[in-house]
Amino acid sequence: MREITYLEAIREALQQKMREDDSVYLIGEDIAEYGGAFGVTVGMLEEFGKERIRNTPISEEVIIGVAAGSAMTGMRPVAEIMFSDFITIAMDDIANQAAKIRYMFGGKARVPIVIRTAGGGGTGAAGQHSQSLEALLAHIPGLKVVMPSCPYDAKGLLLASINDDNPVVFIEHKLLYKNKKYIQHVPGEMYEIPLGKGDIKRKGKDLTIVATSFMVQKSLDAAEDLKKEYNMDCEVVDLRTLRPLDIDLILKSVNKTGKLACVEEAPVFGGFMGEVASQVTEKGFDMLDAPIIRIAGRNCPVPYSLVLENEMIPGVERIKSSIKKMAGLSQGKE
């Protein structure tokens, strides 16, 4: 069985979809000859030509506006915003245009765009190249927000995102792209993972961990250690899509375990897991036998120094110690 990386899975989804559907085209900075800042679109110019692998000036606002406009008149663009931090420049076209057009016109238009972007830190790239801005995006009605954690999900979710008739922000994680540790069997044919469906990445009965993107992988590592060291069985729920949110899957798990730890990379204040926590309290208060905890980024920009960055972004050790403390296994410092 062939195993491929997260990056290869994303590229394969794009290639296969583009072979099938002429209305799909890519637009972004340095995506043609260069193959994108992270190499996702390497080789695609040669196959699809420069009309469909569209290099642009450095103009994020217009990249998204062009994608949205062309989507309304018949295309299915996949736009690339190199680092998710630069999404802020395109925010008018995302928040005020793409997300609202359909609703404001009484459902008489559709905006099938995908905005692919690389998020997250852990790369020593400091405050303007490391952010996790998903909560800003998930807050906006009309947008869908997807954050795959592994190659299999990346391919299926990207295909579903392109096929979706709504604007979808598809946030990839830089540390997953080429990481051989996370290579996986990915079917050669096209398949979709429906947006709005989470996934149990590890079964367990003692405690539920809900996580997104790279934090799913860290949570899985933490769960393995907790099993070995304390015979504690954590269930790891991967949200896969933030909006729509698969709250039923989370509730089902919490109903079994009675305990919920939410893990995310973004600063905890106003983070997306606040939404998860409040929905679980609203809908499943009786299931909980401990307060929900959030293990998340510190409330500051991502710092450059590795010492500080490691402190800002939750690592396996912090996830473990926070969960141990919650479960009454230790007086962890969190």
């Binding site: 900075e29 340095d30 000859e33 260069y34 800042a37 290099n55 642009t56 000036p57 450095i58 103009s59 994020e60 606002e61 217009v62 931090d85 630069f86 420049i89 790369t123 020593g124 790239a125 400091a126 405050g127 303007q128 190249h129 510190r298 409330n299 500051c300 920009p301 710092p303 450059y304 120094s305 590795l306 010492v307 500080l308 960055e309 490691n310 402190e311 800002m312």
Partner: protein
């Protein structure tokens, strides 16, 4: 004025100063390239090799209390503006003695006390800020100027166009220095712009657009000085385009293979340091020995800065949340 007259007017000391600063930048960049490859520093770096005349020419025309704003490629600007090797090197090593106490790193170098805003790594991000800084100088009736450095690529961002127009109507003492190194990351400027000269864009906003040879420190200096002094006297903003080239990849991981060999070689013949060195020697303004001494001193200073950085403390995890909000103490 002719070049020869200008050389006379500038005088030996100033010209040797230009040379020293340019070599400082080049030597610094050459040195840290290896340190990076050895994994001594996190993140990435965008290097300034080939572009030294720009930063040195412009910054030499500034006064002490003027301010510059830089980009993701700030090492040259920082050195030209007078930041020390120590504070830059320590920042790249992520140490508390760095100019941003290890929180900013390569892409955010700066020191306001020395007239340099922490660099902004969002392409086009510093232009609005520079309009604001220079507006403040105007409102406070201070005789100061703010300078924005940015690339050819940045001139395609909306912020460039809006800032030039805003500066024009507010008549701020701003100078917009576009370092046109022909590429924005891997993309040749010819593919993303239908005009030859970025300076032409100034006309749309009713300000002056000027072109200088970014491989010639004297030409840069003369044109920068004109623009800066005009701004200082209330004459408003200028767009100064410097035609230049980077002899390295866009960032550490980029070998720059999209640059045609002939193009690279034709620019390398205009190497701003080699040619300026020849000029100094030919004009009898300096001897080989004297210039070698300068180079050696710089190498020594670099050695020391690496030791300084390596021996400086790392920040403590407790520092993570420090400096997020202003305290009640208002700094001067």
């Amino acid at each position: 004025m002719e070049h020869e007259d200008i050389i006379k007017e500038l005088g030996k000391e100033k010209l040797i100063g230009f040379y020293t600063k340019m070599v400082k930048i080049r030597s610094f960049e050459e040195r840290i390239r290896f340190l990076f490859l050895e994994g001594k520093m996190p993140g990435t770096i965008h290097q300034y090799i080939g572009m030294e005349a720009n930063a040195v020419g412009v910054c030499s025309a500034l006064q002490k209390d003027d301010v510059i704003a830089s980009t993701h490629r700030p090492h040259g600007h920082a050195i030209a503006r007078g930041l020390s090797f120590n504070e830059i090197m320590a920042e790249l090593y992520g140490r508390t003695t760095g100019c941003c106490r290890g929180k900013g790193g390569s892409m955010h170098l700066g020191n306001l006390e020395k007239g340099m805003l922490t660099a902004i790594a969002i392409v086009g991000g510093n232009l609005p800020i520079v309009v604001g800084m220079s507006l403040a100088f105007k409102l406070m009736k201070q005789n100061r100027v703010a300078v924005s450095f940015f690339g050819d690529g940045a001139s395609n961002e909306g912020s460039f166009h809006e800032s030039l127009n805003m500066a024009a109507v507010l008549n701020t003492p701003s100078v917009f220095v576009c370092e046109n190194n022909q590429y924005g990351a891997s993309t040749s400027i010819k593919k993303v712009m239908k005009i030859e000269n970025i300076a032409d864009r100034a006309r749309s906003y009713g300000i002056e657009g000027v072109i200088a040879d970014g491989m010639d420190v004297i030409d840069v200096y003369i044109h920068a000085k004109d623009a800066i002094e005009k701004a200082r006297k209330g004459g408003g903003p200028t767009l100064l385009e410097l035609k230049t080239f980077r002899f390295c990849g866009h960032s550490r991981r980029d070998p720059g293979s999209y640059i045609p060999k002939e193009e690279k070689e034709s620019w390398q013949r205009k190497d701003p340091i080699n040619n300026f060195k020849k000029l100094l020697l030919n004009e009898g303004l300096a001897g080989e020995d004297e210039l070698d001494d300068i180079n050696n001193l710089i190498e020594k200073e670099l050695d020391e800065s690496i030791i300084f950085a390596q021996e400086s403390p790392e920040p403590a995890p407790e520092d993570t949340l420090k400096d997020l909000y202003a305290t009640m103490e208002v700094p001067e």
